[in-house]
Amino acid sequence: MKKGFSVCAESLLALMLVAVGSGCLGTKVKFEDIPLEKADMTRGRTIESSATGFQLLCLIPISINDRLSEAYWRLKRSAGSDYLTDIQISESWAWAYIGTIHKTRLIAQAYPQKPGEGVNHEVASGSSRSLTEKLNELKTLHDNHMLSDQEYEAARAKAVEQYK
């Protein structure tokens, strides 16, 4: 009986040690700089986006790790072809009985292109750049360890597919 309890306690302790060392890496988000020479800084508008994740039992992440990239993607979608700057972030959390809710909120100023500069197709469609430029950008991100091998291959395949 005593031996059984000891084995059980040891297993529990081992499990806890493994759990303590484990964690989750969030998605790295790179915010684009505004090209001041192209943006019409006299006509800004405020836009906002948010993304929420849930951490079940304070341990199991559900949409937790990519909520910042999700919020940024939504912000860029709201901006359309405009350029973003003055990006502010706020993080809030709330207890929800079986876990915690985490919310990331972004607020930014969106500035349109100066007249005569054409439409910011890069942001608007994401597909007007040449394939070589896109692949070079992905390679740079990969070389700088901002994309894992798996993410790089997936993004590369997607880009090639888009340009077919």
Partner: protein, 90 residues
Amino acid sequence: MTVIVPKPPDHAQVVAKDVQGTASGALCIGYPPLSLIPIGLNERMEKAYSDALSKAPGATALKSVTVEEDWYWIVVGTLRYVTITGDAVK
């Protein structure tokens, strides 16, 4: 709200490239068990940004900003670790 990508100053001059700031905060299970205690959690973004700027004397802002948040389970709660990287400009 914490500004993480400020409007860059006109004629911004890069003071230091790839400066990195970090900050962490914990969300601990309190007593009674159905309560949570934030420790340094709510101001972690601001602290990480300030930490990055402090590594480049004279800098007023960051550009080409990258933000990452990792988290770890620490038995009594979770620890959230924020890393902000960017080029310091003035």
